[in-house]
């Protein structure tokens, strides 16, 4: 059953953009993938290890700015820049983790929020490097050919497949971690941090590794954001609201599940578009109301509940 779902999901992922020529729908599909990617990365740390970060936009911003700046100033290929964005995000996660993981529970969450604000303000004010609030713009992307076919960057299809590839990578990583010794250690950290230490688990190390992995993938996503929108500024990529949205995706989908972020992203992106369309100015009120209902009635998330109903997995 699980394998069937996986195969069907990947098949749909491959043919989906061919089903419509409507650029808006294609954009929505890309956004679903983009948010799945972010939710899955956040879930690595927030879901499996139970360490709720409110500052993941930091890594998104670092990834976006790295890709942009390396392309604009050093003329690096954006693909290499994207990878560099992931690596820099992961490197930055190291000191952040070592500092913030001295704190537990809500204090950790507040520390991540503080760090994210510091990074945003630096990006906003370090104008020589980031151009501050003016932002950075790419007008054309370099030509890339696959099997002698030049890729048309004005179409959304290439970005769709790029996002799909990144998302599969993030979900594959989540799955691999959930099956590994690291995954077991993270679960122990979430369950009881004292017991985890008493069991010989270096809880700081386990959490830092999870954060670094998570930051790497979010950094890649940041690079994707820069290439897809071709314009970034600190309020677009370092915003608190981005960090919070990642939390929502993971919580609504189902914490510490591999498929949760997919469900979370599909539901939230769709609902957000419908509400925006229907209620215009007041749409966030309804979005908030929806969040409250999910948290009250589906505390394990939509996928968490479905999985139980379908008995895909014995309830833990």
């Amino acid at each position: 059953m699980k394998r069937l779902l996986t195969v069907a999901g990947i098949a749909f992922l491959l043919v989906a953009p061919l089903l419509t020529n409507n650029a808006f729908f294609q954009h929505l599909m890309i956004m679903v993938l983009f948010w799945t990617l972010l939710g899955a990365s956040w879930n690595l740390l927030g879901g499996f290890a139970g360490q709720v970060s409110f500052g993941h936009a930091t890594f998104l911003g670092i990834g976006a700015y790295t890709t942009m700046l390396f392309y604009l100033s050093l003329h690096w290929s954006p693909w290499l820049g994207m990878l560099a964005g992931g690596v820099l995000g992961a490197l930055l996660a190291l000191p952040i983790g070592l500092i913030c993981f001295r704190l537990r529970g809500p204090y950790f969450s507040l520390a991540t929020l503080a760090v994210a604000e510091i990074v945003r303000l630096v990006a906003l004010n370090w104008e020589q490097l980031t151009a501050g609030p003016v932002g950075l713009l790419i007008t054309t992307l370099p030509q890339v050919s696959i099997a002698d076919h030049a890729i048309n960057w004005e179409s959304k299809i290439p970005f769709y497949y790029l996002a799909a590839g990144l998302t599969l990578f993030a979900i594959g990583l989540t799955y691999a971690v959930s099956r590994s010794r690291l995954g077991a250690y993270l679960t122990a950290v979430r369950e009881d941090i004292d017991s985890a230490e008493a069991t010989g688990i270096d809880t700081v190390r386990a959490r830092v590794i999870a954060l670094v992995l998570s930051a790497f993938v979010v950094g890649l996503a940041g690079g994707f954001y820069a290439l897809y929108f071709r314009y970034i500024d600190p309020d677009a990529v370092f915003a608190i609201s981005l960090s919070v949205e990642m939390v929502f995706i993971a919580v609504v989908g189902g914490l510490a599940t591999t498929a949760g972020p997919i469900v979370g992203a599909i539901v939230l992106v769709t609902i957000s578009e419908i509400f925006r369309d229907r209620f215009a100015a007041g749409h966030l009120i309804f979005y908030g109301l929806f969040m409250m209902l999910v948290i009250r009635y589906l505390p394990e998330g939509i996928w968490g509940q479905l999985r139980f109903l379908l008995s895909l997995e014995r309830r833990r």
Partner: protein, 239 residues
């Protein structure tokens, strides 16, 4: 050479001297009972040695190597495992998973760690509950689970914090037998316990703490006759 040597250990919480100048040695193969009235500092001694809280001053040597400044997980790797007075199993995980997590310390592959964990569970007679959630065990079973989890890290010394607290007489009997068996397997034991009959029966040696100060250290039957110990427990008139 002593297996564990504690010298001049002190811990102040603000103005309170929780532990004052505590020194003792532990020889290989001993079962050492640590007793004292409530608030005497017994659990604090455990927390100081196992790295959960840093001492104000003093030294702790395991096989002549200092344990000070190590994180709890690093102390476990050196060979000291502990249980908690108020049990802290991973409540939403199965009994097997609880112990497997500990077995991972010396065994990276999951199948082998699980096999080790099953062996350890058999030793504490929990192997037929391996699939049950830890939260669904009785208190006595949870205490045994914590012992299994500690054993799975393959310790040289096992610190047991009230392994018999809250157990019924049959379970206490059972726990005494288990502690003796663990010692026979070559693991040295320190236990904090209020159950006097049990501690007198299984300890080779007893240390009595009162207000953070060691007031007696000797064979169980000598310690119970010690005037200072009787005063600490029952007041001056009884002595």
């Amino acid at each position: 050479m002593a297996l564990l040597e504690v010298s001049g250990l002190c811990k102040d919480f603000g103005g309170l001297h929780a532990i004052s100048d505590l020194s003792f040695q532990l020889q290989h193969g001993e079962i050492l009972g640590l007793i004292g009235p409530n608030g005497a500092g017994k659990t604090t001694v455990f927390n100081l040695i196992t790295g959960f809280i840093p001492p104000t001053s003093g030294e702790v040597l395991l096989e002549a190597q200092s344990l000070l400044g190590l994180k709890p997980s690093a102390v476990v790797k050196r060979g000291i495992a502990r249980t908690f007075q108020i049990v802290k199993p991973f409540r939403n995980l199965s009994v097997l998973e609880n112990v497997t997590l500990a077995a991972f310390l010396h065994e990276a592959s999951r199948p082998r760690a699980e096999a080790k964990a099953m062996e350890t569970l058999a030793r504490v007679q929990l192997h037929n509950k391996s699939a049950v959630n830890a939260a669904d065990l009785t208190l006595g079973e949870q205490k045994r689970l914590e012992i299994a989890r500690a054993l799975a890290t393959q310790p040289k010394i096992l610190f047991l914090d009230e392994p018999m607290g809250g157990l019924n007489p049959a379970e206490v009997e059972n726990a005494c037998g288990l502690v003796r068996e663990i010692r026979q397997d070559g693991i040295t034991i320190i236990l904090v316990e209020h159950h006097m009959k049990a501690i007198m029966a299984i300890s080779n040696r007893v240390i009595v703490l009162h207000n953070g100060i060691k007031i007696a250290d000797g064979a169980p039957r000598d310690v119970v006759r010690n005037r200072e110990v009787i005063t600490a427990y029952l007041g001056k008139r009884a002595a």
